[in-house]
Symmetry: C2
Subunit: 324 residues, 2 copies
């Protein structure tokens, strides 16, 4: 009947180092404005290490009034590849600042505020838009920082759309189509991107794109393709690579091939993009800069600064392959 292996507390560390708990707290959090002799500091650190001490998160945040948990709320499912990468980068950067980021799949019928309260998050960043009332609820729950990326404030997706259209236009196309994903998708993201396409068209005096929604099924896509060709569209920009793949499949069903019968450009650069025939031209966006930037914003906001929604630019670039 062995003892329950109680976890080491700061009192244990204090005892082992022969100092008070206050001192332990000071050195472990290296509180500024204290002048702790190197020797003492060393003893404390050593004691903590040897006891494998980890502060009890709940006690810590109860006392301090804020946790160091950041919640990243994702509302797209399955989680797109670039968002995974974004999340990873965010987590890493935040970790460097002593913060812990975890993901939440915002697809269950459960108020975001509930989840935040349960994990005691002190910041939440949402991919996509956040309804104002949700933001308010979050604030009321005690979440200090609420940010959303890819929402209205993010110019990133507009750039993606612009790039897609510019690439197509450069290759001589004048009548463009835009393929909306036939599934639930953050409205703002899609419409920003479309806006970018429209701007690029307008810039060269071309007609606005013919917007069609295409579900990820060859048959559905074929219908859309036929429609575009009726309207003498010669190139289409798709909301994302999966949608672009669907368009390609639709074309195949009609015996058409890209880019000659219809040029197609996607967005995301998912793995499959380079594995199909013809390999899909797409706009890759590297969210990792954005992620690092965002993480900094969150961290400094939490540290007392202001939470400016941060123009998150993703530095999109076209990856030219063969479909356009």
């Amino acid at each position: 009947m062995r003892s329950p292996a109680r976890r080491a507390t700061s009192a244990d560390v204090a005892r082992a180092a022969g100092v008070s708990r206050t001192t332990v707290s000071f050195v472990l959090n290296n509180k500024p404005g204290q002048s702790i002799p190197e020797e003492t500091r060393r003893r404390v650190l050593e004691a903590a290490r040897s006891l494998d001490y980890r502060p009890h998160a709940s006690a810590r945040s109860l006392a301090a009034g804020r946790s160091d948990v950041v919640l990243l709320s994702i509302s797209q499912l399955p989680i797109p590849a670039n968002i995974s990468r974004f999340a990873e980068e965010c987590a890493t950067t935040l970790a460097e600042r002593g913060l812990t980021m975890v993901l939440h799949l915002d697809v269950q019928g459960r108020p975001l505020a509930d989840v935040c309260a349960s994990v005691d998050a002190s910041a939440v960043v949402a991919m996509g838009d956040l309804p104002p009332e949700t933001t308010a609820a979050l604030r009321r729950t005690g979440v200090a920082v609420v940010l959303s990326v890819g929402g209205d404030s993010a110019a990133a997706h507009r750039d993606v759309g612009r790039l897609q259209a510019e690439h197509l236009i450069e290759r001589g196309h004048r009548r463009l189509g835009y393929a909306l994903a036939g599934q639930r998708v953050p409205r703002a993201m899609a419409s920003e991107q479309l806006l970018g396409v429209e701007e690029a068209c307008a810039a060269v005096g071309a007609e606005p794109p013919t917007v069609l929604s295409v579900a990820p099924r060859p048959a559905d896509a074929a219908r859309a393709v036929a429609l575009w060709r009726d309207r003498s569209v010669t190139a289409v920009a798709a909301y994302n690579d999966e949608t672009a793949l669907a368009v390609l499949a639709g074309m195949r069903e009609l015996g058409l091939t890209a880019p000659d019968d219809l040029a197609v450009i996607g967005a995301d650069d998912i793995r499959a993009a380079s594995l199909v025939t013809p390999p899909l031209t797409t706009v890759a966006f590297d969210l990792s800069n954005a992620a690092r930037h965002l993480a900094e914003v969150v961290a400094s906001a939490l540290a007392g600064g202001e939470a400016r929604p941060a123009e998150v630019s993703s530095g999109p670039r076209v990856v030219r392959r063969e479909s356009a």
Copy 2:
């Protein structure tokens, strides 16, 4: 200069309802063995609602000795579609039991135990294997329940492999290949699946599969394909759909087509599988039953029961398309 909008505490609720904090705690957690009159209960609930009261997670877990946070640790990146769905289902089921599940991307050079400590998780389930020392560290950190799915204990992937091979064998193939993903992947998952393939081969007296690793690049895949054909392999089972897509791309590079020159079967049924040419035959596995089951195990373990690693079966089935 308005007040900081302090969050309502259980004391506020008690005051509003005209009872003690103990009573509030009892009715809010509906503690068994107490006989609270309906009237009192109603008053408390009403007060809580009107104050938009949410228990402070850290205070609660500090006092109770355990949080209701469950961490799902994922080590594959990008997050595969079926794992997203699995996670969603888990979260939903756990929520019904009052638990909150969040995701952790286990790819940063940060000990899992650290993260658990930071979010004060009382259970962690890992997709894939967990090194024994990690498990030990977790335990030491105070994590009550440690489970891993897709690890040694999960027969699920073996079934996937068996199904792949059986499908191929049924269609007359006797010399099989197996395509390992050319990237970091949970060892156990891959080897379980491979084991399934081997078993199915053995069952009909066929030679064991020729295992080759293929990176997600057409050129690399082409090399593998050539090798298989040298060895008179006529069909290959791939670790997942992306790998299968790569094989298909490699074949195309060699002017070969599936299933005639080489039959290919994937696993996962990702969206792109149905959008390529030829449409990819694959094994779909619905992890949602598994998820619900797992959630139950976690919940009851947390409630005092034992944490049996749970035979998580995913009910895989082959989705026959045209590549095999």
